[in-house]
């Protein structure tokens, strides 16, 4: 099966595009939660008043496994050194416009020969916009 690789893109073109060597294993929703509050009127059984506020940019995370030192360096660079907004293209072909907030790479397992840089990571960002997916039910097509 063809898998669409995740990649980072700098809208300003300052930093060259980076394609993930391995896609993240998990991600939180990039969509904002609706700001809805409920208040009741003073009467017992009175009408419930529902308010909806403006959409707040959601905190977004995705994570997976860093496979080598180059992968680690790239994730670190995109988390901290690329100013402004970046595009994250995911496996659905969605362009997720976000502002990186940080990268967590905790040490949780002993080093293994040949996989010295293998660590789990979590990338944190604030999502500004999400475009529509480009991948259909049959998955990505050749050349996509």
């Amino acid at each position: 099966m063809i898998v669409l690789r995740w990649r980072f893109e700098d809208p300003s073109g300052t930093v060259p595009e980076y394609t993930f060597p391995r896609n993240p294993r998990s991600m939180s929703t990039p969509f904002p939660a609706r700001q809805v509050q409920a208040v009741s009127t003073t009467a017992p059984g009175g009408q419930i008043l529902l308010w909806e506020g403006g959409v707040q940019p959601p905190d977004w995370t995705f994570g997976g496994t860093i496979v080598n030192a180059a992968h680690y360096a790239a994730m670190l660079q995109w988390a901290y050194d690329v100013p402004g907004r970046i595009f994250v293209w995911d496996h659905f072909g969605r362009r997720i416009t976000c502002v990186p907030k940080g990268l967590d790479v905790p040490k949780e397992a002993p080093e293994r020969v040949g996989h010295y840089w293998r660590h789990e990571y979590t990338f944190r960002a604030l999502v500004v916009a999400v475009s529509s997916p480009t991948v259909g039910d049959d998955g990505p097509q050749e050349g996509s």
Binding site: Q37, T42, A43
Partner: protein, 761 residues
């Protein structure tokens, strides 16, 4: 009560469902740079102010027949427009986080606070500067214009001159929004305020807080002083037209006068002319000519030929002159020496002597003069040399030649015949009639002809005229052709249908931006300069509010509202820019089951008086009425007022009743919170239902505080109210039976009034 709300807004408000793009609370804010436009009019008063009379009392010359544009004093008035003269379209302010405002009867101006974020997204594709995220400080005034702006590579942007004090915000709020529409055209929103920026507070962390007040700020910032007050109107004092004034008027009087004056005569000659050897016509005797008797110089004189003795019958000498037929009444002459006897003979144009006794002259072989000449007057002159007068009791008419004889000649001591006559001056006087035109100044007390307050400094026909002038001077003049620019560059035409020439002046092409009600009365006594001078125009209006009992505020459209508080009759005014302004009996209900989020009621006896008296200062009369108190405990609190202007017991009773009503209104007050609804305005009546506080009364809305938090979506109104009495089912809003008949008639007359709306029906 607003009559121009977006369709469906009340339904959404009552539903309690404020979720979704079409229903969630929203606020959009525009900002623009206003430009004050001044309109100067040269007009004419309906009276003429003339110089003070010598006793220092100013007098006026009115035109009782009405305004005569060709007469009266020229007067210049300048009105100011701050709201319709913007040169550039507004811009919509993004990033708004919260809009809150408070509009209350107790404050001189409403206040608004807008919180927003002072940053702008960096357009995708542009390179960030350093580690800067987006464009912080993007809305800071003058950003990029300072000498040091290059330090951050800041350059001027389209917001350079926008978020600055004195610029104008317009706030549009409602339920739901249309991102494709401009704020002005957004079908979900309505204008909830026009605000003048007072403060712009910027924080390094990117918060931007804009504090504003409504257009009443124009009245607070502008003092009652030139140039806001035109010179012809400064210092400002106001009086009614119904007083009597001292008037001067001029008229021309033609008078005929008759006086005795010197007449023109022409010398003809003398008896000397008959003696050519010693004299000839005009010739001189010892250097003396008959002309010397007419030259006006008493030092020269006519001298006759000589006679050997004065006793001869031929010893008469004479001078002839022509009076040209003039009517005369006397002949005056002075002689050289005295002792003569004078005779006067007169002849008509044909030389016929006027009848009378015959002169005693005879030639007797020695004389050469005419014998038999009659004379009409004779007078012995005595010994002195002074002036002699021969008067005719009846004025002489139709005479041409006059002969003045002298007899009784005197010795002049000259060689040859010594006895001669001498005359220094002769004049003829008679009645002269002359026609004289004189200017007579009359003074009288008359009524002035009322004219527009805008062209008659110091005179008003109604207290509301003062309000109009203050508003038009401050910046709330509304010119014909007025328009608001919108954010897309289009124009919203807001032009008065009719110019207010009746109040602002005959030449004016506009009116005041507002809905003003006539008070039906004018100052009983002059409101002197001290009430207004060098105070803010708002302070002057406050003075009138307290005097008249009217209320003033600025509404959501930035327009002035001046009217009787809406406490006398059930219902509400539908005003503003509603298509059909007017009165409605509808009152919005605030029900605990539907929209009431909280309520605090206060009942208080702090204002209760068991008795209220009103009288005049000398104590000739007074009225005492009972105050409202549902809890009779025997307390005996009495309050009252005396004033010299009360003219009758009936007037005092009206005042006492009105005080009692006001006191009753303060007995119960509420503070309540509801979801915001722009349909409710201050000066509205609402009816509230809440079980715990036993609230079911009609209330008067005297204050509204709105908080629209766009982050949480919560948009609420906090209302300050007082009740309108304890009989919500009664026909009247107050207990009519507690008022005197005179007071009921007074109030009935008041509630019949209606504001002069901006929108013509």
């Amino acid at each position: 009560m607003r009559g121009d709300l977006p369709e469906g807004m009340e339904e959404i408000w009552r539903s309690g469902n404020y979720v979704g793009t079409d229903r969630r609370p929203f606020a959009r804010v525009t900002v623009h740079r206003p430009t004050m436009q001044l309109y100067t009019y040269g007009m004419t008063t309906t009276f003429r102010r003339v110089a003070p009379s010598l006793d220092g009392v100013a007098v006026f010359n009115p035109f009782p027949q009405g305004i005569d544009p060709t007469r009266g004093d020229p007067v210049t008035n300048t009105y100011a427009d701050f709201l319709f003269g913007a040169l550039h379209p507004p811009k919509e302010l993004p990033n708004v986080a919260e809009v809150s405002w408070t509009r209350t009867m107790d404050a001189d101006a409403a206040q608004c606070t807008v919180r927003c974020w002072n940053t702008s997204p960096l357009p995708l594709g542009e390179k960030p500067r350093g580690r800067e995220l987006d464009r912080p400080g993007w809305f800071t005034a003058k950003r990029g214009t300072w000498q040091f702006s290059g330090r951050w590579r800041h350059e001027p942007n389209e917001w350079v001159d926008m978020l600055m004090p004195d610029n104008v915000l317009r706030v549009y709020e409602g339920y739901g929004y249309d991102p494709e529409s401009t704020p002005e055209q957004d079908p979900h929103l309505t204008l909830t305020g026009v605000w003048l920026i007072d403060d712009v507070r910027l924080s390094a962390l990117g918060q931007l807080v804009i504090v504003c007040r409504d257009a009443a700020r124009l009245l607070l910032d502008h003092q009652n002083f030139p140039p806001v007050v035109p010179e012809d109107f400064y210092p400002t004092s106001f009086r009614a037209w119904d007083e009597k004034v001292t008037v001067q008027s001029q008229r021309q009087v033609v008078r005929t006068t008759t006086a005795t004056e010197r007449l023109k005569v022409t010398p003809l000659g003398s008896g000397n002319d008959r003696w050519p050897e010693s004299a000839y016509v005009g010739a001189r005797v010892y250097g003396h000519s008959h002309l010397h008797a007419f030259d006006g110089n008493p030092a020269t004189y006519w001298l006759s030929v000589g006679n050997a003795t004065p006793a001869y019958r031929s010893s008469y000498e004479y001078v002839d002159f022509n009076v040209h037929g003039a009517t005369f009444s006397e002949i005056r002459f002075t002689t050289v020496g005295g002792g003569y006897t004078a005779y006067v003979s007169m002849a008509d144009a044909q030389g016929n002597w006027r009848p009378g006794p015959i002169m005693g002259y005879h030639r007797d072989g020695r004389g050469r003069y005419d014998e038999g000449v009659p004379y009409v007057a004779r007078k012995a002159l005595g010994g002195s040399e002074g002036e002699h007068v021969i008067r005719f009791t009846t004025a002489v008419k139709g005479v041409h030649r006059v002969r003045l004889w002298l007899n009784g000649l005197r010795n002049f001591g000259l060689p040859g015949a010594k006895y001669r006559a001498g005359i220094r001056e002769i004049s003829v006087r008679g009645p002269v009639t002359r026609t004289v035109t004189e200017t007579v100044v009359d003074q009288r007390q008359v009524d002035l002809t009322p004219g527009p307050a805008g062209s008659n400094p110091g005179y008003v026909q109604d207290f509301t005229d003062i309000i109009r002038l203050f508003l038009a001077w401050a910046g709330l003049f509304w010119p014909q052709g007025g328009r608001w620019l919108e954010t897309d560059g289009s124009e919203l035409l807001l032009s008065p249908a009719v110019a207010d020439v009746e109040h602002l002046g005959a030449e004016v092409n506009g009116r005041v931006w507002g809905d003003l009600m006539e008070t039906g009365t004018a100052p009983l006594a002059e409101i002197s300069v001290s009430a207004f001078d060098k105070k803010s125009l708002r302070e002057g209006i406050r003075y009138l509010e307290e005097t008249i009992g009217f209320a003033f505020w600025v509404d959501e459209t930035g327009a002035a509202q001046w009217r009787l508080p809406n406490i006398w009759q059930r219902g509400n005014w539908i005003g503003g820019l509603a298509e059909l302004p007017g009165r409605t009996s509808a009152v919005i209900e605030l029900d605990e089951n539907q929209v009431l989020m909280g309520l605090d009621a206060t009942i208080t006896s702090r204002n209760v008086r068991e008795g209220i008296f009103v009288g005049n200062i000398p104590g000739n009369f007074a009225a005492l009425v009972g105050g409202y108190n549902p809890n009779v405990t025997g307390l005996r609190r009495v309050g009252g007022v005396t004033d010299k202007h009360f003219a009758s017991a009936e007037e005092a009773r009206v005042m006492a009743d009105l005080v009692a009503v006001r006191q009753m209104l303060r007995y119960r007050t509420d503070q309540l919170r509801i979801p915001a609804f722009p349909g409710i305005q201050i000066d509205d009546q609402v009816r509230i239902f809440e079980r715990v506080t036993s609230e079911g009364f009609y209330h008067y809305v005297k204050g509204i505080s709105s908080t629209n938090n766009l982050a949480t979506g919560e948009w609420t109104y906090d209302l300050q109210t007082h009740w309108l009495g304890d009989d919500p089912e009664g026909a009247w809003i107050v207990d009519r039976t507690s008022l005197s008949e005179v007071t009921r008639a007074y109030v009935d007359a008041l509630v019949e009034r209606r504001p002069e709306w901006r929108v013509e029906q």
